[in-house]
Assembly symmetry: C2
Homo-oligomer: 339 residues x 2
DNA sequence: AATATAAATGACAGCGCTGTCAATTTGTTA
DNA sequence: TAACAAATTGACAGCGCTGTCATTTATATT
């Protein structure tokens, strides 16, 4: 019923091996032969059996997406981006959610890699930001691509997609400053996340660019969660000196800050401006709609995947490092400071 | 480096085939032998090679999750539920997002099934609600489990997990009625979704149970989106006769309704009660927090997957049909009707 | 035209496992 | 205890493909 390589070989009048060569884009096949085989492949609607490929070959045609992240929108975007690249390239995707804090996490991933024979891994934070961990993974003889926060290649270990959170945060903060804000609060996403650290740096940079002193009371240690936004905003707005704007480290925190503002009867943006980061779908659905920075996750993910697959195919030996800078999206949660 | 079945066989002093038997839980292996093999398996940290299994056996150890749904929370919950069952049972999961409206969708899925040799499919709406489509899929000799809306086995084609949207909607509506509401609006999720139809039925049933006449002006044809909630609520609240409560077909619509209420300066729940459906994470993050119905998607998904795998293993021939009824979660967006 | 060289193709083993069927061991009964 | 059935185990082929290496064919060189 389902055509095998054998069927194709017979129909085309060539050996199995030649069909294999054509299917793998190997050189040393005459164009005429290649065409003949391709025609037969099309005619029989032949598709190579992945299991057999994986078993027989030293190469593998599957990659895995390893993540530990509770953000559904982020995951879905990443996943879709990875998947679209995989489909284009004839790769299979395994998804592997796991707990980054588990102490046998390396072993777990090792087992997964060995059992599934994946050729590569797409790593997002926090995994991508642990060089030692990544090095251990590389010992397993899998390729890795990392998506992480920063504005320069962190090392030469793997290709990376860098997200310039620093620059984007600077832009958001500048936007607030341009609206006349000087007392700007910051609710962080947790020191274990490089993105949060980078965003904080960008925030500080913007202040200092404009000659505004950094007030430590305005910087709240939080985490990437709604609750953290609620608590952070409460804390900021019950201090003696209150900010007139809050830069939340992501949209979820911003949504929490919005919630807290409602609770405290603070009008947004009249009495307080709030900005988020990520441009997740619900940033358009809060009241008021959130000013934020758009992070093109889907694009980043498919880019990363293409980089990974190129590496697997050994089409390039260099460790490429691409950069994305999230762009400011101004909506209704930020406004001119009131006199 | 990575242990194979051969290594285990040698270490344990049995044949490869016996190890295979143990790994597959086949009968006709003496307990002593089984223990010995299991011990060796543990010692060598042996894990069967999926590719080899898939290639050699007639059985397959992978299933696919086929979906077309823009709701990130839903997808993630489903995916996690499916994945946890897969891990427990040693199955591999392929995810296959696709466009249900594409006219070659059957062909697309056929190719995926053939190429990946999946043994089963987890189908959610809209796929699960197309009997003819499902029948065609079954011809491919894959097992299928369906998750769908309803309160009775729709047919005997496949095992199903039914979600009793009718009952849950009735409960929500009753909750509104108990708060004294008689003029209750309904924003539907689209006639192409069985869940929306069922929820509408439940809403009507509740009204009729309480002797309240059904007012067609209160029933808005919408779709499962935020915008639809915004528009639906606007329409309802600009009519001559306005409802005092709105039952939105899902949380996203409810969030839209909330947004519209803000726009129109309508106080929630004092002037208008709004209820959602799904209990998605953001229903806890709106202002006010949404009253909704909790749909245990993760649980439903792992249940469904277990049913599918049992079917694949032919442990049962009967077409089991399980039922879930989402439970009312009362939060702050609904309240006593004001005089 | 004969030879050397490179390009193209094919034969064959084997990846790690399962299915089939035959061989062996164990338990049961007269 | 012999004879037989049932339970247990193993030998072997082969799933569909790729890697290796040998063979054939085309091209260049003298």
């Amino acid at each position: 019923m389902k055509a095998t390589i054998n069927d194709v070989a017979k129909h085309a009048g060539v050996s199995i091996k030649t069909v294999s060569r054509v299917m793998n884009n190997e050189p040393s096949v005459r164009q005429a032969t290649r065409d003949k085989v391709m025609a037969t492949v099309a005619e029989l609607n032949y598709q190579p059996n992945l299991a057999a490929r994986n078993l027989a070959g030293t190469k593998s045609y599957s990659i895995a997406y390893v993540y530990d992240n509770p953000n559904a929108y982020y995951i879905i975007d990443m996943q879709n981006g990875i998947l679209s690249a995989c489909r284009q390239q004839g790769f299979e995707l395994l998804i592997h959610p796991c707990n980054a804090e588990a102490d046998n996490i390396l072993e777990e991933i090792t087992n997964m890699v060995k059992q599934s024979r994946v050729a590569g891994l797409v790593l997002t934070p926090p995994f991508s930001e642990r060089p030692e961990f990544v090095k251990r993974i590389l010992e397993l003889d899998v390729k890795v691509v990392r998506i992480m926060s920063g504005n320069a290649a962190p090392d030469e270990i793997t290709p990376c997609i860098m997200v310039d959170d620093h620059q984007a945060a600077l832009t958001i903060t500048q936007h607030l400053i341009d609206y006349g804000h000087k007392n700007i609060g910051f609710i962080a996403g947790g020191a274990e996340h490089k993105s949060s650290i980078e965003r904080l740096q960008g925030y500080k940079q913007a202040l200092s660019n404009n000659g505004i002193a950094i007030n430590d009371d305005f910087i709240i240690e939080g985490e990437y969660s709604f609750e953290s936004g609620v608590n952070g905003a409460k804390q900021l707005m019950t201090q003696a000196e209150k900010p007139t704007a809050i830069f939340s480290c992501n949209d979820e925190i911003a949504a929490g800050a919005l919630f807290a503002a409602r609770l405290m009867n603070i009008a947004i943006p009249q009495q307080l401006s709030i900005a988020g980061f990520e441009n997740s779908p619900f940033s358009r659905q809060t009241w008021p709609r959130l000013t934020t920075a758009d992070q093109p996750n889907r694009q980043i993910a498919s880019d990363a995947t293409n980089l990974l697959i190129a590496q697997i195919r050994q089409q390039n030996t260099k460790q490429i490092c691409t950069q994305y800078t999230p762009e400011l999206v101004v909506r209704d949660s930020t406004g001119q400071v009131q006199a």
